[in-house]
Subunit: 361 residues, 2 copies
């Protein structure tokens, strides 16, 4: 029987309540598929600021280092928005974890489920046209981390600067991730850049072309970021894997998420070269509905499934969770935000949805 | 009688044929409102590469310098896409003209006309909700022009870099443009940045807040770029003026354009501090339909109207053109790309649409 240790970082807002459902689902599949998960919970984000004085306490980081994977909830909220930028949950915890563990490979799937196509803000004929995109975003380099960044000069000439920077090695490894992912999907990679303006994008395109020669069965296309944001609105069904740098991936993945109209369903994975990773819902901490028992647990449960698949290599258990979620959605067992105004009385609670998914495992 | 000289740069693809209609419309309003326009045509883009050996010949640049405004068509096409980047029409002509004339203020209106709401890729309830956005994009700084940019290092560590850079003065002048524009519209400015990650965005936000104090009647909100691309899909009707840096404005304005579903209707203006400007359709040169007489002339005609309004201060004549276009659209006098599949037989030609607009002037 395989044994794995998980660092559980539930965080703020709806994090703890959706995490509870994910842990329940994990415990069911672990008995069914005969593996053991040892959880340890650690404070993170605003909760950690309040209780330990910083968003990512040493013990939390040490706990993550000792674990086989990190299951993450969500962090932040208005309470901590007035802190200096570097102390705020997003930077002090999220960006820190990404860079500390070199989680360069960020996978953000976005899919329109047929039974939920009416939630998409897109026209039905577009939304129903097989929208199933995987954004592969580089997560530990580019303009988020490039040096130098700072402020210089005087008076009105004071100027701030950030550096977008990519090495061949950094581009190569994320490009490989994208091609491998596409080979398990619809065999198409769309690489997003701004090669008509940026030197980093030209190197990006050059290396992506090089990597592509190792995957002759995968179709490769290049799209400028401005055109990508347009095509995503006009016809997202044309995409399979979208390969993006850090900043462009931030933009593209959020646009994809919104296009589905159901952010509460979307998981994400951030993985390093050793396969170690952090798994978290694509949406935020939703402080406005925290504690009401109405948050959608699906994104957190699917994040747990991504953890099983990508870090722990427990494919069957992951498939089992994914199928149970699919069944739950098509059976119409839904939290309120997924229901039209005139059907809100049919809304299920966080716990109800968790129960139903578990009953399908 | 006022007299103005216009440099006409029709360019490639559909540029010349739509330009012809814009010049006809201008000549009608110039008699009606008693001003004189002296046109001189100059080669630009791929056509200039083919005939003069470079995308922006000296005579063209000199002609623009001698003029009161530049009316621009569109440039580029597959024929010139294999040239080295710096020689290609986009960089060698477009970016060069922007920086040479310090055209820092780029205005890109995007509006969903009620009679054409069905063209939007958004759900009808969203598309019909008063979508009328003006993107104010900074056009001569940021990561497009920031120094240093280049490549350094060896082997797999070879790395490319671009610098995003903004001075207080650069932010201040574009912010003012946005607030002034909002004061003539719906009194709201949404400033788009990534202040949770970028130092340039923090300075951006600081200066925008400073400028805002001079416009107490204008509502100001800040949105991260990732959230902006989401909100534009979920509910574009919430926006009035969107104030963006060069790169973010490129992305946001194209997403806005696609959301209208009618790129062929959208003009743009790029203006400097003296009010001198370049006016051009938001869409591209559409080489696939060039010469067929079916291209939509509206964006070019509205670009001419923006020229009258913003560079030549001929407001009445500009209003007259805008109203004629509105009437034409609501009368259903449309080129084919604006018609549903089963009404293509009602498509009007470039010339027909030009004629109808002129008949309404
Ligand atoms: C919170 C923020 C720093 C972060 C990012 O930009 O990476 C978020 O938008 C995300 O996409 O995970
Ligand atoms: C052609 C390209 C360099 C240009 C830009 O990015 O500015 C275009 O996309 C635009 O928006 O005018």
């Amino acid at each position: 029987m395989s044994k794995h240790s998980i660092a559980v970082l539930a965080g703020d807002g709806i994090g703890p309540e959706v995490m509870e459902q994910a842990l329940r689902a994990l415990s069911v599949v672990s008995s069914k598929y005969d593996f053991e998960l040892a959880y340890k919970e650690y404070p993170v984000g605003g909760f950690a600021i309040d209780t330990c004085g910083e968003a990512l306490p040493k013990e939390t980081l040490a706990g993550c280092e000792a674990a086989d994977a990190i299951l993450f909830g969500s962090i932040g909220g208005p309470k901590w928005d007035t802190l200096p930028l570097d102390l705020r949950p997003e930077r002090a915890a999220l960006l820190k974890l990404r860079s500390h563990f070199d989680l360069f490979s960020n996978l953000r799937p976005a899919k329109i489920y047929e039974s939920l196509a009416h939630l998409s803000p897109l026209r039905p004929d577009i939304a129903k046209n097989n929208v199933d995109v995987l954004v592969v975003r580089e997560l530990t380099s580019g303009i988020y981390f490039g040096q130098p960044k700072g402020i210089e000069g005087e008076g009105e000439q004071t100027n701030a600067f950030d550096t977008m920077r990519y090495s061949k090695a950094e581009i190569r490894r994320i490009a490989k991730t994208a091609f491998i992912a596409a080979s398990k999907r619809k065999n198409k990679v769309t690489s997003v850049d701004k090669a008509n303006v940026l030197v980093t994008s030209r190197l990006w395109r050059e290396i992506v072309e090089e990597v592509a020669t190792d995957y002759p069965d995968i179709e490769l296309e290049h799209l400028y970021i401005d055109n990508a944001t347009m095509q995503l609105v006009a016809n997202p069904g044309q995409f399979d894997v979208m390969l993006c740098s850090n900043l462009f991936g931030d933009i593209v993945s959020d646009e994809c998420a919104m296009i589905t109209g159901s952010m509460g369903l979307l998981p994400s994975a951030s993985i390093n070269e050793a396969g170690f990773g952090m798994f978290e819902p694509a949406g935020g901490s939703a402080p406005d509905i925290a504690g009401l028992g109405i948050a959608n647990p699906v994104a957190q449960i699917l994040s747990a499934s991504m953890m099983l698949r990508h870090s722990l290599n427990l494919t069957e258990a992951a498939d089992c969770i994914d199928n149970a979620v699919l069944k739950t959605l098509s059976d119409g067992v839904l939290t309120g935000e997924l229901l039209p105004a005139d059907q809100k009385q049919n809304a299920k609670s966080t716990q109800d949805v968790g129960d139903y998914i578990i009953s399908q495992l």
